[in-house]
Symmetry: C2
Subunit: 285 residues, 2 copies
């Protein structure tokens, strides 16, 4: 049994708590507000369930004290920088950090890597949704003048998406000013984005999400190799569960002395699962 | 650049040759008949493309001389035994063997492991085909009295399959005797199997295959998490390509001093791919 702490108690923190309690090889060391970050030191692994932009600060504090961490950092363009920074801290303190754990980045990244190994030439398209993007929703909520927000991701095919951002304004906030700030945010600046003021975001809220990941590629000299991966899921439940599975992988790596930071494509799938190698190979291979 | 030898030159050996030639980080050390097994010793890795039941003999000879091997051994119930035997030989001789590389066992095994990490409770069904099973076709061809054979796998849902075995008889062979021998073979004994005599197997032959792998499971306490992985592919091309991708993983493991035998669920997806960690993380995560 290893001890898992949860730092931050939003949608993902709550889902992660359920997943820790359901895991046969873990016990919950506690759920902590990020102000009480150092209380996680009674644990073997801390799940950093804070907003993405605060992940590095807290993960660094913990890893510097030798505590393994798992986060679901989801700004794709900044993942390598986070990995580099955490890798140095972890190696200096004999810790392991699994970064960007979840489904995308996360399990989708693993699937993309496997499809590339199966058919090295060709195109992969990751089509998200329709569904509520947690990262985009948090980003919209952080804009000045926004009282509550919901960002829906709408797949337009070939990896192109529309963002439908539903917002409740703070009293006195100007819609056009808020809309401009959302459209200028790095989360939204690269996609077709529509901002819509509504009376109640809560009335629209639904954490369902999904993906349709397709590749048509070439194996050796053979064209027209077709692959498709689909999910229709509760988003925070899936993210929290995968963070918990990655906590197990972090412990396995630490036990083997493989310190440092890893993204999910750097993990062997078997390390995500409870049980010994023999039983897992017999059940899954 | 590392040097890859191919042992055996059937459907998979030919496909593997194309994949080696297309790989940016490999060169072909030669294609050898299994009688010339020791000629593979000029290579860093040997792809053992012999019939499944001869894999262990040749892989053992090579690993005992420190040559890494990759095979596509596909008798699911005997994979753990092969892994145990090869693991000992490899560890004693500083080699790495990736066993049961391909798509099932292989990439499907990785997908099953990832889905279990995403939703630990629930049911996964692997539905194959319709398509030509290479393992079953080879097994049928090996039956006395069979001149040529084609074994088609027909999915019946929930992981249940029908085997349609088309055979050309040798002159003077008795159909009923041959049929009984096929039905008694371990490859066929567990499924509904129909044996049909035809004039020309060649007229039916087509190496298309596919899979529909589905899971409906529970993440934490959240039910109804739905996943689906589909492929429609040229079977030997995909198998040969994945063996080549696993040759790369074998070299990476050897470079890191991680000697022994591994199934694909024990490999990190990144090790299947050419390129450095930074470029792959940036492209895929």
């Amino acid at each position: 049994m290893f001890r898992v702490a949860i730092l931050g108690y939003g949608n993902i923190g709550r889902a992660a708590e359920e997943a820790v309690k359901a895991a046969p090889d873990m016990e919950l060391a506690g759920v902590f507000h990020h102000n009480d970050c150092l209380d996680c030191m009674a644990a073997d692994v801390a799940l950093v369930c804070t907003p993405t932009r605060e992940v590095q600060k807290f993960a660094t504090v913990l890893a510097a004290r030798g505590i393994c961490t798992v986060d679901s950092f989801d700004i794709h363009g900044q993942i390598w920088n986070l990995r580099s920074a955490m890798d140095a801290v972890c190696k200096a303190n004999q810790a392991v950090s699994v970064i960007s754990a979840g489904w995308d980045p996360g399990s989708d990244s693993m699937v993309r890597a496997i499809l590339l190994a199966l058919a090295p030439k060709g195109l992969t398209y990751t089509n998200f949704g329709p569904g509520r993007s947690m990262g985009h929703t948090v980003a919209a909520k952080a804009i000045k003048g926004v009282k509550n927000a919901l960002s829906m991701t709408i797949p337009l095919g070939t990896g192109i998406h529309r963002r439908m951002v539903y917002i409740e304004l703070e009293d006195g906030a100007d819609f056009k000013t808020v809309e401009s700030a959302i459209l200028a945010d790095d989360y939204f600046a690269h996609d077709e984005t529509h901002v819509i003021a509504v009376e109640s975001v809560d009335a629209l809220n639904n954490v369902a999400h999904g993906v349709n990941l397709v590749r048509n590629g070439v194996s050796g000299e053979t064209h027209n190799q077709r692959f498709e991966f689909n999910m229709a899921i509760n988003n925070p439940a899936l993210t929290g569960q995968m963070m918990v599975s990655c906590a197990r992988a972090a412990m396995r790596l630490k036990e083997r002395g493989e310190f440092g930071a890893k993204t999910m494509i750097e993990l062997a799938p078997i390390d995500l699962l409870p049980g010994n190698t023999e039983s897992l190979v017999k059940a899954l291979v």
